[in-house]
């Protein structure tokens, strides 16, 4: 917690004296929005095949301008049914992961809080695995009622339960202990892993294959159906996040201070926990475990624009989306026509960055 409090207090001092960083932050957000626009176009234009997104869009919008080189139906399908849903899903999941990381770090007042690191993703994964394995039998009726929403909702439930337990265990009298949180996260992750193991044992061959590839973490297999299933849940959490900013800033000063600043602390914490769980759960349900986005993006941004959540949250959403799209573009093209799982790329890039953070801020993370 030292980190954010120090940062926040520092921020206030600076605001009073040397001027604040909000101008810089606003500028950064504009830049990040442009960056996202560029990465979206880049992602639409790149892939294993030479289908030209530009030509498809041009012919769609201005049929008269078509240069006659008759776009094949195949190119259209590649752009609209393969690349576009993948880009949309990438934007949703990248921003969801980065924002839930940022919110969780604010909520726990702890730079190490990340849904992937403290077992929340594992909890979401357990929820999803239960549905994949038992969906055809015990949970059949549930599946019939909830339809395509079953998987994301189950993952959400798993994530929510894990986050609540984690918060209860790690927070005492409004203070979150870094050590307790990490250790509790390990215990929760292990428990979720154990239950997942039981489910894996019960799975038949086909389900086992589903589980294995789902666990790799990937945007492959993005379809409009999946976006319809997870999109609303993620969108809700993203829409809620700007309203959390003021509360998170106040919380950085401690719960008592936040209370005196007029924040309904308990209610606020509940909203924050539910939105983190919703964003993480829905993301894990459609794309498996994609690590490090939630920790790398907010940290990188704090270094540049400071810890003010009013700017940090939207900036995280933008940068998270861009980073995931870039990573996915690499995964789609580096071994084309085959594909490298996305989780491998984010971990390969995120792991070293995480170590660098640890080296840079070593003193702050002493347990």
């Amino acid at each position: 917690m030292v980190d954010s409090v120090a940062g926040s207090v520092g921020n206030m001092e600076r605001r009073a004296s040397a001027g604040d960083r909000s101008a810089r932050a606003k500028f950064a957000i504009v830049l990040l929005a442009v960056l996202l626009g560029v990465t979206v176009l880049l992602s639409l234009a790149s892939g294993a095949s030479d289908a030209s997104a530009l030509a498809v869009v041009r012919d769609g919008l201005f049929p008269s301008m078509s240069d006659g080189s008759a776009l094949s139906e195949r190119d259209r399908i590649i752009v609209y049914d393969i690349r576009l849903p993948r880009v949309v899903l990438g934007v949703l999941i990248g921003s969801a992961l980065a924002v839930s990381g940022a919110v969780m770090q604010g909520l726990f007042r702890n730079p190490l809080a990340d849904p992937g690191l403290v077992g929340v993703s594992a909890g979401a994964g357990l929820g999803a695995i239960v549905v994949i394995v038992l969906g055809g039998t015990v949970l059949g009726p549930l599946l019939a009622i909830l339809g395509i929403y079953t998987l994301p909702l189950a993952a959400f439930a798993g994530a929510l339960a894990t986050t609540l337990v984690l918060y209860r265990v790690a927070t005492r009298r409004g203070q979150t202990s870094i050590a307790t949180m990490l250790l509790a996260g390990i215990a929760l992750g292990a428990m979720a892993g154990a239950f997942s193991g039981i489910m894996v044992y019960l799975a038949d061959d086909r389900q086992l294959r589903d589980l294995t590839f789902w666990g790799l973490g990937s945007l492959a297999g993005a379809t409009w159906t999946k976006i319809a299933a997870a999109g609303p849940i993620i969108a809700l959490a993203l829409i809620a996040s700007p309203f959390l900013a003021r509360g998170l800033n106040a919380l950085a000063l401690g719960e008592a201070a936040a209370h005196h600043l007029g924040i309904p602390v308990q209610w606020f914490k509940n909203v924050a926990i539910v939105s983190v769980a919703a964003a993480t759960g829905a993301s894990v349900a459609v794309s498996g475990g994609i690590g490090f986005v939630g920790i790398v993006v907010p940290h990188l941004l704090r270094l540049i624009i400071g810890p003010d959540n009013r700017y940090l949250l939207p900036a995280s959403a933008l940068l998270g989306a861009s980073m995931l799209l870039l990573a996915d573009a690499i995964s789609r093209t580096i071994v084309a026509p085959a594909e490298l799982p996305l989780g491998i790329i984010t971990a390969a890039g995120g792991g070293p960055f995480f170590l660098w953070i640890l080296l840079r801020k070593r003193g702050l993370l002493d347990l």
Partner: protein, 297 residues
């Protein structure tokens, strides 16, 4: 941060290689012949092998990563692992049709490929003598090479019969335990309805894990009661390989007949479990390893 450990990811390919699916013949939209067989992507090791054995390899434009035999197939572009196909990757080789082994996927990728009006034909797989012949005939039929397929099927039939006959008169059947992986000391063994079970039976052995469905993790006690005379594993290269010493030092396996006699056979995965043109030869190799001098040939 997936709940799956990295080691599990690495084993995924190996595991999935060994899992064929209990094929449900999926002649979707009733298609069984490619309207245009000039540019075919072959998905599944045994499918590619059969296409080459038929002499129809000129029609291939791509293969999947499990298609590693014959060696000349490696020159074709690799569109990825058969159960994790990337739709755009497959479309980028501009195939006129996809000839895939049952269980290829994922479903989302196949749906998009079908939508892109690429003819997709799935070839069912069963792990027995007849299954191989059917596979050959179906592959031949899809490519408009029925006559060649009939000839090939006939020779494979005779070859397989001869290989099976080798062990026909063996009095005492050996019990064989197929171990898929021993990651972290956990033994993953093959039960019924697996490719390994099929090949063990063809070679005149008894699957030590009879009565268990699919690939299951073996408890120490189950390993003891399975009483294998012989352990069968896939060749695996590099760091993934479990050394022979590690197999025999496993406390559960050490006390089995196979462990005491240090009987372990390793064979190439696609050769042993592919159920294609090379299966008769694999059966012969396995039978020879099991029964040695007891069989002729």
């Amino acid at each position: 941060m997936s709940i799956f450990s990295r080691s599990m990811r690495v084993t995924a390919i190996g595991i999935a290689l060994a899992f064929g699916s209990l094929a449900v013949a999926q002649s979707e939209e009733g298609k069984s012949v490619f309207p245009d067989a000039s540019r075919i992507a072959a998905v599944g090791g045994s499918i590619t092998e059969i296409v080459y054995a038929l002499g129809e390899e000129g029609k291939l434009v791509a293969r999947d990563s499990t298609s590693t035999y014959p060696e000349s197939a490696l020159k074709l572009p690799d569109v990825g692992y058969m159960r994790a196909l990337s739709p755009e990757g497959v479309l980028s080789v501009n195939p006129s049709g996809i000839l895939a082994l049952a269980g290829s996927g994922p479903k989302e990728a196949i749906d998009v490929l079908k939508k892109a009006s690429v003819t997709y034909i799935e070839v069912p797989e069963t792990y027995d003598h007849q299954g191989i012949l059917d596979k050959v005939r179906i592959v031949g039929h899809t490519l408009g090479a029925d006559d060649k397929a009939a000839t090939l099927a006939k020779s494979i039939d005779a070859d397989l019969k001869a290989a099976e006959d080798l062990t026909a008169n063996v009095a005492e059947r050996k019990r064989v335990l197929f171990i898929l992986s021993m990651e972290g000391g956990k033994i993953l063994a093959a039960g019924d309805h697996t490719a390994a079970n099929g090949i063990i039976k063809l070679a005149g052995g008894v699957n030590a894990m009879e009565g268990v469905n699919g690939y299951k993790q073996l408890t120490d006690e189950a390993a003891l009661t399975a009483k294998p005379d012989m352990i069968l594993m896939m060749d695996s290269a590099g760091a993934l390989a479990t050394a022979d010493a590690d197999v025999f030092s496993n406390p559960a396996l050490a006390t089995t007949p196979a462990g005491k006699a240090k009987k372990l056979i390793r064979m190439d995965g696609s050769y042993l479990l592919g159920f294609g043109p090379r299966t008769a030869s694999a059966v012969r190799d396995l039978a020879a390893a099991l029964y040695g001098d007891q069989i002729k040939g």
